[in-house]
């Protein structure tokens, strides 16, 4: 059983690139946040900075991994001549800009 998502290839390609960029951008962000400078700050301030940065560095790291994962998913789908089934086609569509949310899934 196969299905086909009716969107231009360039849209898919650009979406992959943008998710990849997002992953790299957030990767750099969480790394900086995790090592935020606490030099020349009092101990109470340092404790507060550490309390702030830890959960948010974790959150940004998770978001970075999610974005990179989306990019990898698109690479996987793009490698298929036709998307394997309707569920996968819809999954790919969900990773594209909202403007494509009505793109037809045919076959299946």
């Amino acid at each position: 059983m196969t299905a086909r998502l009716d969107v231009p290839f360039a849209v898919v390609q650009q979406a992959r690139q943008r998710w990849d960029v997002a992953g790299d951008e957030l990767d750099g962000a969480w790394r900086r946040l995790a090592t935020t400078s606490t030099a020349e700050l009092d101990t109470d301030v340092v404790a507060a900075v550490e309390g702030f940065r830890e959960p948010w560095a974790d959150e940004l790291k998770a978001a970075a991994e999610q974005a990179s994962g989306y990019a990898a998913e698109i690479v996987y789908f793009r490698g298929l001549v036709v998307v394997a089934d309707q569920e996968q086609a819809e999954r790919l569509r969900s990773l594209l800009p909202w403007a494509q949310h009505d793109a037809a899934v045919t076959g299946g």
Partner: protein, 598 residues
């Protein structure tokens, strides 16, 4: 026996464990993170389901929509943290200033206490008791007042730290970030951005509008569009510095990731290189602290790493031009690009320290390279194939364009100036002097202009150029300074020789420089040292009475070699071959940043 109550020494004001520099570094890191998060959140939002469109289930399944919502919480939390860190930094800077004053007053009071105690101990009778009692009473009042002010200082310091701690703790969970994102009081960044863009080019209007914004609004704009805020002429220098450092941090973080992934484009590679140059240059001066505020002495006033054919644009100030009594801005010349920032900052700092040593008030010294400086040979405008090098220096187009940009920058400094109007000096070196010349001719609002190693000016006289005082430094053995037209000719492709007596500038003493061909470029890059530096510092600090002069070219005592004569003498070639030989030598010895770096 009479007992006189002399007050005890006033205890020292506690040291600052949290320093302005520490707060500044914290703020820079938080802003850089916020910039990156907003970049991604902004993109995800732009491809998300609009709130009014599509069914909820569809939107819920849409990856970018969910992603944008997820990052919005992080963005809101970072906005709160950045705003709190900014306030903390400002309060610490004020505390630093107060502590400096308190420490000085304490030293004075304690010295007076010691003096009184010594005099009392030395007294052999009671004849001075009434005087001692009066002095002791006054000292007690002074000491008590000082102790109270130190106590207030300690409370204010503790309050500044407590407020930052509370602000960070208020958003130190993801749930609290989500709550912060739902706050109806969040700044409307889209509307603020529209207004900011609309006011660009109107530095006075921009400065006035910016001052009406809340701290949260300013910080939200700074992290949303650091490239706009950091390079907006008219905004306060410290705010531009914050934006530019945030953009620099973001560029380094992101582009390093891309490089490590093997995905850098050619343009991104240049941006990363330029960002790295700027980071390294700032690192060299990280220990330089502003003695008034305790913050970093260096301010990044322009950061445009992708501009000017990839050479990048950069401006860095030592000291704060908004508050300084005397401000200088120096513009470098040919072959200057972001890679040559470090060497040019060394020269700027030398001038800064020399001007401070004049003792005529506070000083800020800006290095400005936000124009497309040519990369060609100043002597020989032909490339090795004998073709005219249009990317070289023999044309005035880049000087005219650079002068226009420089004018905008100076207008911005005038608009953000605080207090009494600063004494402002524009300095142009080499081709940069030609760019400054065009800006002067277009009405640059400066008090003094210093033109050094100039290959030419757009007018034949200083009076036609500007109403400002024009000071000229030209070593007779600097070949670039012999390019302009004067009483003995000159190539003149870039205009008139400002050292010529008929130009009418104040030619200050620089010395002639060595007369060996291998030293000619050293001469051209030696104006920020020795007598020349001293004279520039006199002008910058408004201490013109100390300037030493030398005769203009063509005036009695102002004999000099023409360019071809100089090159012939220095290379032992014939006069006829001198120009070509010297030009070839210079071409072979030019390298990126080369003419500024011996």
């Amino acid at each position: 026996m009479t007992i006189i109550h002399v007050p005890a020494h006033v205890p020292a004001c506690p040291i600052m464990v949290s320093t302005p520099v520490g707060a500044q570094r914290l703020g820079t890191d938080l802003r850089a993170v916020a910039v990156a998060v907003k970049n991604v959140q902004g993109w995800a939002s732009s491809i998300s389901a609009p709130e009014w469109e599509g069914d909820t289930a569809d939107a819920h399944d849409h990856a970018a929509t969910r992603f944008a919502v997820r990052l919005d919480g992080a963005e809101a939390a970072l906005d709160r943290a950045v705003t709190a860190a900014d306030l903390f930094e400002e309060r610490l800077a004020a505390l630093f200033e107060r502590r400096t004053t308190l420490t000085a007053e304490r030293a004075e009071v304690n010295a007076d206490i010691d003096t009184l105690s010594t005099e009392i101990a030395a007294a052999t009778d009671e004849s001075r008791v009434p005087e001692f009692e009066r002095r002791a009473a006054r000292l007690t009042t002074r000491a008590d007042g000082l102790v109270a002010r130190i106590d207030t200082w300690v409370r204010d310091r503790d309050a500044a730290e407590a407020d930052l701690v509370a602000a960070l703790r208020g958003v130190d969970t993801v749930a609290e970030g989500v709550q912060a994102a739902a706050d109806p009081g969040r700044p409307d960044v889209a509307a603020l951005t529209t207004r900011l863009r609309g006011l660009r080019g109107d530095p006075t209007g921009l400065a006035a509008w910016w001052a009406t914004l809340s701290r949260a609004e300013q910080e939200a704009l700074t992290t949303e569009h650091p490239e706009l805020v950091g390079n907006a002429d008219g905004l306060p220098i410290t705010d531009r510095d914050e934006a530019n450092r945030a953009a620099l941090g973001r560029d380094l973080d992101y582009l390093t990731q891309r490089r490590d992934d093997g995905q850098l484009s050619a343009a991104e590679k240049r941006v990363l290189e330029n960002a790295t140059y700027v980071r390294d240059a700032l690192g060299e001066y990280a220990d330089q602290i502003d003695p008034e505020t305790g913050a970093a002495l260096a301010n990044v006033v322009v950061y445009q790493p992708g501009l000017h054919s990839g050479d990048g644009g950069i401006a860095i100030s030592f000291g704060n031009p908004d508050t300084a009594d005397h401000v200088s801005v120096n513009v470098p010349g040919l072959t200057s690009e972001t890679s040559s920032t470090s060497g040019n900052l060394a020269k700027t700092l030398a001038l800064h320290q020399a001007a401070l040593d004049e003792g005529k008030g506070t000083v800020a010294s800006v290095y400005w390279l936000d124009y497309d400086a040519p990369s060609g040979n100043p002597i020989n405008p032909f490339d090795p194939l004998g073709q005219l090098d249009f990317g070289g220096v023999a044309l005035t187009d880049k000087a005219e364009a650079g002068g226009e940009r420089f004018g905008d920058f100076i207008d911005g400094l005038r608009a953000s100036d605080e207090g009494d109007r600063a004494h402002l000096t524009a300095i142009g070196h080499s081709y940069g002097s030609t760019a400054v010349g065009y800006a002067l001719h277009d009405g640059l609002p400066v008090d003094d202009a210093i033109i050094i190693g100039s290959p030419g000016q757009p007018t034949g006289t200083a009076a036609e150029l500007t109403g400002a005082d024009v000071w000229v430094g030209s070593m007779d053995h600097d070949p670039v300074s012999l390019l302009g037209t004067g009483d003995r000719g000159g190539i003149g492709a870039l205009g008139h020789d400002p050292a010529d007596v008929d130009f009418g500038g104040h030619r200050f003493e620089t010395g002639d420089g060595a007369l060996r061909v291998e030293k000619l470029l050293d001469n051209h890059s030696s104006y920020f040292s020795g007598t020349s530096l001293d004279n520039m510092a006199h002008v910058v600090a408004g201490n013109e009475g100390e300037v030493s002069y030398q005769p203009g070219r063509g005036a009695p005592g102002g004999d000099y070699l023409t360019l071809s004569e100089l090159l012939a003498v220095s290379t032992t070639a014939t006069v006829g071959d001198g120009l070509l030989a010297g030009g070839t030598w210079l071409l072979e010895h030019l390298r990126p940043g080369g003419i500024m770096v011996p």
